[in-house]
Symmetry: C2
């Protein structure tokens, strides 16, 4: 059966990316690899919208989150974390695991933190060294006001760290223009790669914190990574095949243009949301991101049954809710290597599945709503 | 030009491994992935020769080395490290980065540590919680007497940690029989995969240390990994494409049989050493491993020139010396996806390159010596 993945990572792989991985391996300590690595590190700056170095690690996104904590801070340091979902909680958990004093701004799951709350927290506690938040909280599908958060954090000496793992390349993020100090990303989302690579960009302000930080690190050592990067290398063996695949996916992004890639994500999110609303279903969370849409399930629809039907009958893989949202929502990603008919497909599968499960749904209504949105705009790659 | 890699990682990829990576990605939180993961974790036990769980991480080998230190120990704990090359030094560096009291047994590069030395160290310092060593010290090509070391460590309460990154599947390692508590390995060596996966096996004695250890870890958390493994999952997003490729390479190893794989490595190492000696070159280090052979360069042969010629004229990539051995040795790996003609090829390229660089060498002499060795034994896969 054809498999169609609509999860917020991994996302479908373009042919060029897939085939690049079937090539013979090259050795990493060669001019050939250095050339590839130099090119991808340059192109990552374009996607990150930064002039700063982007460090590359062989790990999944959580590894890079841990790396940031270990490189920026010292035992007992105070940090501020926005907790509006599973990944905000992850920042807090990592902070606690590393012996930091963690202050949390708890945000109702499905809502976004207010910059004003963060400003107040920073004003009442001048000891806070870093603020950790998300661009998109993947567990709720909500996009945060990183520009607004950055504005308040930048008035202080604290460093702003943004987990853009599920959203880099899907949601606008102007790292330098917005003065976001640290951005964390990973390969298996809008970058259209298998999981296994993670990325970190750091501002000068962040590097100053790295200089003072004493938490233990070796594999994650940012200074070592920066020194090697100056020679187009990594301090430890890199994920060679994934880095070669990254060159392909970054070329695809460059060919389409970052603005068009972001426009496409915005349009597909809008089309899906239009369909969901027309089906009398409710979007969970506000504001809803361009990477992934969470949908509140009606009380009479069982999440597991629905997802099983989508998978068994249509080969469609979507995500359920995590932790406290388990069983209450489904999450459909419109992330990475997607086109209009992928969006139509997932909506159609959802309509037919809900219908067959006895939920009152007018067949074709969601698809019609999505077609109306998708017909309003033409994308630059058409 | 055809590229032929003879470095101690990455090593050449079998076609089945390469092509498996060109497939569509599968989602990791599915029954389909769990089935793959269950199978590879079971087969890894066979290669590790252990009944204990083997944990899988998305990182290169150094990440798993750091993971072991962070999971086994607490700040200020004492450890014993054998330093007979760059990777022994790496254990010491990681220990120091994590605030441990590191006692080193310094071994001349090219020699192996004596179990007796380790026994004496452990007797004179009962506080030592763990001993860190190598099966093969990749920087010198020397194989260590892990069985002997294990015998002395097992008399004490200390845990034995063996870096088998470059040697698992190339050099005999009977994890359970020899009672090796912790074994660290990585994907891009005898496992015939791209870099990006690392592996750790732990004995019951090691798990008891994990229970007491307080060094900070989150991404590397062994307990989380073990809990997830019980459900055929990983706590964080795994390197899906590499794990699917791992299934292919483990199938290749099972089809050939581990004993035959090890025999093949032993035979190829012997053939290469025979050739080197017949060319009046000197093997560096003793005892020389079945994974990689280090060769002392005659004073009139420039390492960089030789390696450049091998690469430019024959597409042959070998490794040079690292750190204090830079410029003094070359290292040729006979590791992973290799056959007899690969070994003949690298010897022939070496002969012709040395000849053209003006070094006095009888053309064909090394190849003849290797053929003699290779003709003595037939391998089970023939």
């Amino acid at each position: 059966m054809k498999q169609r993945i609509f999860t917020p990572g991994p996302t479908p792989l373009p042919e060029r990316v897939r085939l690049s991985q079937a090539k013979d391996i090259i050795h990493h300590r060669t001019a050939e690899f250095s050339e590839v690595f130099k090119e991808v590190c340059e192109d990552l700056k374009y996607v990150f919208q930064t002039k700063n170095d982007v460090l590359v690690f062989a790990s999944s996104g959580t590894g890079a989150m841990e790396a940031v904590v270990a490189n920026l801070l010292s035992p007992g340091d105070e940090i501020l974390v926005t907790r509006g979902g599973k990944f905000g909680e992850r920042w807090a958990e990592i902070g606690e695991a590393f012996g930091l004093k963690v202050t949390s701004i708890d945000v109702e799951w499905g809502k976004a933190p207010e910059p004003l709350q963060i400003e107040k927290s920073l004003q009442s506690n001048k000891e806070i060294k870093a603020v950790f938040t998300q661009l998109v909280e993947t567990s709720t599908g909500v996009v945060y006001d990183v520009e607004g958060i950055s504005r308040v954090v930048n008035k202080t000496s604290a460093v702003l760290v943004v987990d853009a793992i599920s959203s880099l390349g899907a949601e606008p993020l102007f790292t330098d223009k917005w003065q976001v100090d640290v951005v964390v990303a990973a390969s298996q989302k809008a970058l259209m790669l298998p999981p296994g690579l993670s990325f970190v960009s750091l501002s000068e302000k962040a590097w100053q914190l790295v200089d003072k930080a004493t938490l233990p690190r070796y594999y994650w050592d940012f200074k070592k990574a920066r020194t090697s990067l100056a020679h187009n290398q990594t301090p430890f063996t890199p994920s060679v095949s994934l880095i070669c695949a990254l060159r392909e996916s970054l070329n695809l992004i460059k060919e389409e243009g970052l603005k068009s890639v972001l426009d496409r994500h915005r349009l597909f999110a809008k089309a899906l949301r239009g369909a969901i609303i027309s089906l009398n279903l409710q979007i969970f969370g506000n504001p809803s991101s361009n990477a992934v849409t969470a949908i509140l399930l009606p009380p009479d629809v069982e999440e597991k049954k629905l997802r099983r039907k989508l998978q068994n009958d249509f080969g469609v893989i979507i995500a359920g809710g995590q932790a406290q949202l388990s069983g209450k929502i489904i999450r459909i990603a419109h992330l990475g290597w997607m086109d209009k008919l992928d969006i139509i497909g997932v909506i159609s599968a959802l309509e037919m599945s809900l219908f067959q499960l006895g939920y009152e749904v007018e067949l074709g209504r969601g698809v019609k709503a999505a077609e109306e949105v998708l017909s309003q705009e033409s994308l630059s790659n058409e």
